[in-house]
């Protein structure tokens, strides 16, 4: 491996590390909760069954692709404007196929941390 590619590798890896380090404790906790409870439907990964409109998006992301029609990012983690009251209303009240989440699943503290994560500065 020559020096240039080593340098690139270092820069790429340090960028990745830097981004992870940018999360505050609340945001980092929020990401853990998000990855457990939200990501299986609202994540960005491709793949899976049913095709989800042929893009292999996960169900929540797929539904938001149809809803936003390109006007807004369908991946929740890519939104920069999600309001706390909206997030908590949807989590606690459900919306269409997304059911209510209870406090024994996502506690109030967990919810605040998810909100912090989704509103992390970028």
């Amino acid at each position: 491996m020559n020096k240039l590619s080593i340098l690139c590798l270092f820069l790429v890896s340090s960028i990745g590390v830097a981004e992870a380090q940018e999360l505050s404790p609340a945001e980092a906790s929020g990401k853990v909760v998000f990855d457990k409870w939200c990501e299986p439907c609202h994540g960005r990964v491709a793949g899976g069954v049913f095709g989800g409109l042929g893009t292999n998006a996960l169900p929540g992301t797929s539904a938001l692709m149809v809803k936003y029609k390109g006007d807004l990012p369908p991946v929740l983690e890519d939104r920069i404007d999600l309001q706390p009251i909206y997030i908590s209303t949807v989590v606690r009240g459900g919306l269409y196929g997304m059911p209510i989440s209870r406090k024994t699943e996502i506690s109030d503290a967990d919810l605040q941390n998810i909100i912090a994560y989704l509103n992390r500065p970028r």
Binding site: K36, P40, C41, V45, A46, G47, G48, V49, F50, G51, G52, L53, N56, L58, P59, G60, S62, A63, V66, K67, R92, G94, Y96, G97, M98, P99, I100, S101, R102, K103, T104, E105
Partner: protein, 538 residues
């Protein structure tokens, strides 16, 4: 806010205070906002007086706390409604069967007590989810494969206790059928263990199921005879490999021959879950409009054969996974092709590559068949979520209506025809057709499934409920019933199991009266009411 039946606010406040002394104030939920979290998100009665609403919820963290809560509930005669992860969507979710019940939220009891990959079992508490168990197995590099339902965020215990089902190898798809050993808190607060677990000091609780004498395990599924606090789960050893294969047959009339052979293979434990489809009928997710074929009522066999011929596609297909060492997979597949070729003229075969197991983590997201490989996921939500076809008015939920048909072509066709009639009678376009295929959740029965939308709108829900009830009525006329349903339909569903003037329900009621004299466990669940509520039906 709802109160428990025959309980004053003052009495209820005292009971809540006693609950708090057991679990701590943080884990008793009685405010309107907190109790609203225990609504059934997919309720067919949303916002109506008949919607089942809890009075409060209590979340214990241990068996001892559960026992104490049960004793308190008995003193006050307050009904409890135990839930495990409370994600039983379409079948009631976290909401009780009887308005005013206190939900006993067991989510905090989420310990994975043991997973053994030499004797191939797990022992879990109610609040463990399939995701939790999968993660545990992966992190500990245990060589066992789960059988998961769709979606995968529910509880192995809770799903089993509602007769839930999965997607892998025959015996494991029946989740209650693959439990092994229970620990139960009785309606009077006593602790019971079944099977070998009833021998003090036994190490065989998850090896030997029956014990000596009558097994009572079946009493605790889809019922209200006690609160299960531990369950053993039989697990399949992680296969070395898998291969997905497909058999197609050309003619409409070939379905029975196809079923006969698949039944042989399934009942001989040679194949994974048979997944039936109809290429000529358009397939499951891209139904070809049958157009003129359906314009003059249900077509006759000649019309159906002509239609199939015109489509130039096989009438039927069945796909399944073969699991095991590759030598066995290849040998089994060779034998399967030989048997089909001997029995059905024109049978054709397709196969995918052999893949080793377990699947590496990085390869999991792209897998189209996660459930067939025991990988929990939420992708089933695609079926009911917003999509281009329902974008103007996506449903708020759905109530699954699964008809249990005999494992024959006639069983499938008859159920599909009767369901189509029910839909038409209620003013809905039919959701079933002559090309409807069965789902083999239970290895020895056929499921003919329809998903009826639910709404946060009382007028639309009224129409959905009427449709659901008509379906239940009509399938009963042809001797078929359902296996699982929402509390809104449970009484109607169990009323169809009426042999000998309802002898079965009467027997269950006698048991209920003896086991739960104060009627505090889930009154009304699957039609079983305690004596003090029986005449009024709650």
């Amino acid at each position: 806010m709802a109160l428990p039946p025959n309980t004053s606010q003052a009495e209820f406040n005292r009971a809540l205070a006693e609950f708090e002394s057991v679990v701590g104030a943080d884990w008793v939920f009685s405010s309107d906002a907190d109790v609203a979290l225990y609504r059934d998100s997919y309720s067919p009665l949303w916002g109506e007086e008949e919607e089942r609403i809890a009075s409060a919820a209590v979340a214990p963290d241990s068996v001892e706390e559960v026992q104490e809560i049960v004793r308190i509930a008995n003193r006050y005669k307050i009904p409890l409604y135990p839930i495990s992860t409370g994600r039983n969507l379409t079948y009631g979710g976290a909401a009780p069967t009887l308005t005013g019940s206190v939900v006993l939220d067991l989510k905090r009891m989420n310990r994975i007590i043991e997973v053994d990959d030499k004797r191939n079992y797990a022992l879990v508490e109610p609040g463990v989810s399939y995701f939790d168990l999968f993660k545990y197995i992966r992190e500990h590099d245990l060589q066992v494969m789960l059988d998961v339902p769709d979606p995968g965020w529910g509880s192995p215990m809770g799903n089993s206790l509602d007769h839930g089902v999965g997607y892998t190898f025959g015996p494991y798809r029946d989740h209650f059928g693959s439990h092994i050993g229970l620990e139960i808190v009785s309606a009077e607060g006593e602790l019971i263990r079944t099977g070998a677990g009833a021998i003090p000091g036994s190490d065989a609780w998850q090896d030997f199921h029956y014990g000596a004498g009558p097994s009572i395990d079946g009493l605790f599924a889809q019922s209200n005879f006690g609160i299960v606090t531990k369950m053993g789960v039989k697990l399949m050893p992680m296969p070395e490999a898998f291969k997905n294969v497909t058999v197609t047959v050309p003619r409409y009339q070939d379905l029975q021959s196809l079923i006969d052979e698949v039944n042989y293979l399934e009942d001989s434990y040679l194949i994974g879950m048979p997944f039936y489809n109809s290429p000529a009928g358009g397939g499951l997710f891209d139904p070809t409009p049958l157009g003129e074929l359906m314009q003059n009522g249900w077509p006759n066999p000649e019309q159906l054969e002509a239609f199939v011929t015109a489509q130039n596609k096989p009438a039927w297909s069945v796909s399944f996974h073969l699991y095991g060492p590759q030598e066995i997979i290849q040998g089994t597949w060779t034998a399967i092709q030989r048997r089909f070729s001997d029995k059905i003229a024109g049978a054709a075969f397709e196969e995918e590559d052999l893949h080793n197991l377990p699947i590496p983590d990085d390869d999991i997201p792209a897998l189209p068949d996660k459930a067939f490989l025991g990988i929990p996921n939420l992708e089933i939500f695609h079926i009911v979520n917003r999509n281009p076809m329902n974008d103007n008015d996506p449903p708020d939920g759905h109530a699954d209506m699964f008809t249990m048909a005999p494992r024959t072509a006639e069983g499938v066709h008859t159920a599909a025809r009767v369901l189509a009639e029910a839909y038409q009678e209620m003013g809905f376009p039919p959701a079933t057709s002559p090309f409807s295929t069965p789902i083999t959740f239970y290895a020895r029965a056929f499921v003919v499934a329809v998903l009826i939308p639910t709404w946060r709108d009382s007028a639309k829900n009224a129409a959905s409920r009427a449709l659901y009830e008509r379906c239940l009525d009509k399938i009963a006329e042809i001797g078929m019933g359902t296996y699982r349903t929402n509390p809104a339909f449970q009484e109607l569903a169990v009323s169809k199991y009426s042999f000998n003037e309802g002898a079965l329900l009467k027997y269950q009621e006698k048991l209920k009266d003896a086991i739960d004299p104060n009627g505090i466990i889930s009154p009304g669940r699957y039609g079983i009411w305690p004596a003090n509520m029986r005449n009024n039906r709650g």
